[in-house]
């Protein structure tokens, strides 16, 4: 039987505000337990939430970047359930009236570009964390994360393959990071994804029974978990078994999904509007202001790079994968005027160095100005491409300018024709046998002479000049 896969993703992204969504506590990750927890975080009696306006602005940025319609009046609601990491016994979220709805994202996978719908984006508070004691039958509660702002991005069941799901996630992730509203760290949980997946025989209209997948902390794991789950569901259907609607956890080591205890999901959240907060009113002027402040988004920037700089789509993709990288590249291009050459240096050497050290482009010791200068020095012939390889390594290691390094190391290319001619004449004189063979037709020996010149000049000779002079002098 031929099956069609139906996938819908729910993404939670932590917003990069300095303070929490409903109080003034810091959102910093990694502080000692409960050091960023005030009476509001602790859900103490009588304390009240006050909405952080920045959270609304950040959420609006994402909504606009994903083509959503912003609701002029959206409402916070309480999601009621008991858990020790949830101090109030309810999570403040949005339910009937979310911030934004009806968005979409264009996603390219398996050589096809498709539109993936976004049902809604809403704001909510994160819960705390439980720390289980391995030695004692005890658990501890850390409320530092309580109240850290989240947006939940609920996607339509428009995704048709695990690859497409991973690609959709990459695009969402890329936009969030581009907008500088989320650090995108999947391991620390700043970007989390749950997936709903079902299969149906090709041509059937009704959806099959879906399962919900959790606990996938990388793009790769999302794809692997979905691939596994699709196979599992197909196996069940083909063997006449029933798919149970349930939540399943991805086990990375095992490479499989396993059912979560059903007791943990039997929730009636009893949503109702939170009477402690007033509706968020978003007027057109506010939307316009946020829209005007949006940066160029990755997809648009990719297209512009291809058109404006005439670089291959692949290069544009790599260079725009991160906002800071794209800005770095553009700065280099602006200063040196050589888009393709700049792309090669950035994608080749610069990224290689950074990847080796697991550094981000923001931490790159090579200033855009320096890289542009270096490209200029190659262009004007001051250094060779080969010398540049050495220079750029030094620039990365020391942060020095290319001119400084060249001077320090005496790396300046020999472009003095007279001096070079003298060296060449001496080499020809010292190798009469090779000269005779060359003149006798062994043209390959030209390389031998180039090598000798380079050796004599410690590689400083301008290669083009060496070629020209050698050809002339060998022929004489």
């Amino acid at each position: 039987m031929d099956f069609e896969t139906i996938i819908g993703l729910e993404v939670h992204a932590q917003l990069l505000t300095d303070t929490k969504i409903f109080c003034n506590c810091s959102t910093k990750f990694g502080a000692s337990p409960n050091s960023h927890a005030c009476p509001v975080c602790l859900g103490m009696p009588g304390v009240l939430p006050v909405l952080n306006k920045k959270v609304v602005e950040y959420a609006m940025k994402m909504a606009l970047a994903t083509n959503c319609t912003i609701n002029p009046r959206n409402v916070f609601a309480r999601k009621n359930y008991f858990y020790p990491d949830l101090p109030k016994g309810y999570q403040i979220s949005q339910y009937a009236y979310p911030l934004a709805e009806h968005g979409y994202l264009m996603v390219e996978a398996n050589g096809e570009q498709r539109k993936i719908g976004i049902t809604r984006i809403h704001m909510e508070e994160d819960a705390g964390k439980l720390i289980h004691d391995d030695n004692n039958p005890a658990s501890y509660v850390d409320l530092n994360r309580t109240g850290v702002p989240l947006i939940e991005i609920v996607g339509e069941p428009d995704i048709r393959s695990p690859e497409e799901a991973a690609e959709y996630l990459r695009r969402l992730h890329e936009i969030l990071v581009y907008l500088e509203i989320c650090d995108g760290n999947m391991e620390e949980g700043s970007f989390r994804c749950d997936a709903n997946v079902s299969i149906r025989p090709k041509g059937q209209k009704e959806f099959g029974t879906r399962t919900e997948l959790k606990n996938m902390n990388s793009f790769r794991n999302v794809q692997r978990a979905l691939e596994y789950e699709v196979k599992r569901q197909q196996y069940l259907v083909e063997n006449g078994e029933k798919i149970i609607q349930e939540t399943r956890l991805w086990d990375d080591a095992q490479g499989a999904t396993n059912p979560m205890r059903s007791k943990e999901e039997a929730h009636d959240y009893r949503y109702f509007p939170d009477p402690d907060l007033v509706p968020v009113v978003v007027d057109e002027a506010w939307v316009a202001e946020i829209r005007a402040g949006l940066p160029e988004l990755p997809q648009a920037r990719r297209e512009r790079f291809v058109n404006e700089y005439q670089i291959p789509a692949y290069d544009a993709g790599v260079l725009t994968s991160e906002k800071a990288l794209a800005e770095y590249y553009e700065e280099v291009v602006k200063l040196c005027g050589r888009p393709k050459i700049a792309a090669n240096w950035v994608m080749g050497d610069v990224l290689k160095f950074l990847n080796e050290d697991k550094r981000s482009i923001r931490e790159c010791p090579i200033a855009a100005r320096s890289l542009a200068d270096m490209i200029g020095l190659i262009e004007e012939g001051t250094i060779s491409g080969k010398m540049a390889k050495e220079v750029i390594a030094d620039m990365y290691a020391t942060g020095k300018t290319p001119r400084g390094i060249i001077e320090e190391k005496g790396l300046v290319q020999i472009t003095d024709e007279g001096e070079l001619a003298k060296t060449i004449a001496a080499i020809i004189e010292a190798n009469p046998g090779q000269l005779a063979d060359y003149r006798g037709g062994k043209e390959k020996l030209f390389g031998f002479f180039v090598g000798q010149v380079m050796k004599a000049t410690q590689g400083k000779a301008n290669p083009k000049l060496v070629n020209d002079l050698l050809r002339k002098m060998l022929a004489e």
Binding site: G46, V47, L48, F82, P84, P87, Y90, F272, D276, V278
Partner: protein, 485 residues
């Protein structure tokens, strides 16, 4: 007359004129407490040490000529407002050892205005009740008849003012919890407009209905207290940035030409004949003040109690979820796992009425029932609000009884929750509509129990509310009696 019997404005005159010191006033109040508290039980906790220290500080301020609106005035706080470093129980066993690390905004404001806090007043558990009998610290008794209840839920605050155990007090009103005990104890009690007084630090019962307000001995004192309490609070999202006038200016102004609305729906069968007679007399008094009496209709009145007992428990079921034994308050001693810790803590910590309302509220919000209960109640609430908007196009203020009966006997209604709920039948609508209301004494029953009349005005019209209440108070000149304790 003894100092503890006087009003705020009378004491202010004495303080300014050197006729009394803050310490003398505090001593007078505490000697009165020594004499009557074991019979009345207005308080869960007295703050004598703090109060005496505050009185000494007040006298130093007075000496320097720095006299604030409440300098040296002994004020009781309902034990539902959080006091930093002082246990705040909300009348519940589940919070019997809870010490807040913060003050409610009203506590900050009162302290800044020079008030001397006498203690934390008794109340129905989590403000759920109309008699102060659901307090896990035992009931408060009505100073006018110790066999009777003082009303509730702010019964301790009302009784303390009536019995001379403080000069003024703070209560909270979710469905009548200030106005009904004020009526039953023969004092003035006001519920301000929703959003007028900050709820920060007020332990939530039903967040969309709760509002803090004062109990005082006369309307002028009420204005003095409102001057201190009212105003926007950045810590509270539903508090409103509306200008706060000097409420005292409205005291003594006449109500010539005012139209006073009498809603037919509030003069129903089952209302106590003595209450009915006293309120009819109040209508006459208002007419004699130069106001015209207009009949108005609030057609959705009969749904008020039903709507209230969906919305309030629904919000309460969520507000009270935080009392889970994890972070503060009671935690059961014997639990083997998490579920048992939750169940036993809440089973042992909450009283019967609180559990009843948590269950009603949980049910009303449940999947499949939300639309029929909470959803429908919210719609009808909007209609009730509209009733008032329309009524206030025809009149300037509304006059009704505050409570259908004078104070009833202890235990009389504890086994019949529905009868108990009906004692708030005239006060609930103001909470649902968010409008301000005040109860003013309007007479006594033959057996000597106080009766109150309620005035209502539009949103943020506390000034006009005080104006009509003070005009009535002056003209009615209700006999000044004191409970014989």
């Amino acid at each position: 007359m003894e100092l503890h019997q006087l009003t705020i404005h009378e004491l202010q005159e004495k303080i300014r004129g050197g006729g009394a010191s803050a310490l003398q006033i505090a001593e007078s109040v505490f000697s009165r407490i020594d004499a009557v508290e074991d019979r009345v039980h207005s308080y869960i906790r007295l703050m004598k040490k703090e109060a005496m220290a505050a009185a000494v500080r007040a006298d130093e301020q007075i000496k320097k000529g720095d006299i604030q609106p409440l300098t040296g005035i002994p004020v009781a706080l309902k034990d539902i407002v959080c006091t930093q470093g002082i246990p705040t129980t909300c009348g519940s066993h589940i919070l019997h050892q809870f010490v807040p690390p913060y003050n409610a905004t009203v506590v900050e404001k009162l302290a800044a205005a020079g008030a001397v806090f006498v203690g934390k007043a008794n109340m129905d558990e989590f403000a759920m009740g109309s008699s102060t009998e659901t307090s896990s610290f035992g009931p408060t008794r009505n100073p006018w008849d110790l066999e009777r209840i003082p009303g509730g839920s702010s019964g301790g605050s009302a009784a303390a003012v009536a019995a001379g155990e403080c000069i003024a007090s703070i209560g909270s009103d979710t469905g009548g919890s200030i106005r009904q005990p004020a009526a039953l104890c023969g004092v003035v009690g006001m519920k301000p407009t929703y959003g007028r007084v900050s709820r920060f630090g007020l332990i939530a019962f039903a967040s969309s209905l709760d509002q803090i307000g004062p109990f005082t001995r006369d309307v002028e004192d009420c204005a003095i207290m409102m001057n201190v309490l009212a105003g926007y609070d950045p810590k509270e999202s539903t508090s409103v940035r509306a200008e706060v006038p000097d409420y005292r200016r409205f005291i003594g102004r006449d109500i010539q030409g005012w139209r006073i609305g009498i809603p037919g729906e509030y003069f129903i069968e089952g209302i106590d004949p003595e209450v009915s007679a006293a309120v009819r007399k109040a209508i006459e008094t208002v007419r004699q003040c130069g106001a015209s009496i207009v009949e108005i209709s609030l057609p959705h009145t009969r749904y008020c109690v039903a709507v209230y007992y969906i919305i309030a428990p629904a919000e309460a079921s969520s507000n009270l979820a935080r009392y889970d034994g994890v972070r503060y308050g009671l935690r059961t001693a014997d639990a083997r796992d998490l579920a048992e810790m939750y169940e036993k803590t809440r089973m042992q910590g909450f009283g019967a009425e609180v559990k009843r309302r948590i269950m009603i509220g949980t049910y009303a919000l449940s999947a499949g029932y939300y639309d029929a209960y909470y959803g429908k109640a919210s719609q009808v609430r909007a209609l009730i609000r509209r009733d008032f908007d329309e009524a206030f196009t025809k009149c300037d203020a509304i006059l009704t009884p505050t409570s259908p009966t004078p104070a009833f006997r202890l235990g009389e209604k504890t086994d019949d929750p529905l009868q108990m709920y009906l004692s708030d039948i005239f006060t609930i609508s103001a909470n649902l509509a968010g409008i301000p209301g005040i109860s003013v004494p309007c007479g006594f029953s033959a057996s000597g129990l106080p009766i109150g009349v309620q005035f209502l005005t539009g949103h943020f019209e506390e000034g006009r509310l005080l104006q009509v209440a003070s005009a009535y108070e002056k003209s009615a000149a209700v006999e000044k009696r004191r409970p014989s304790l």
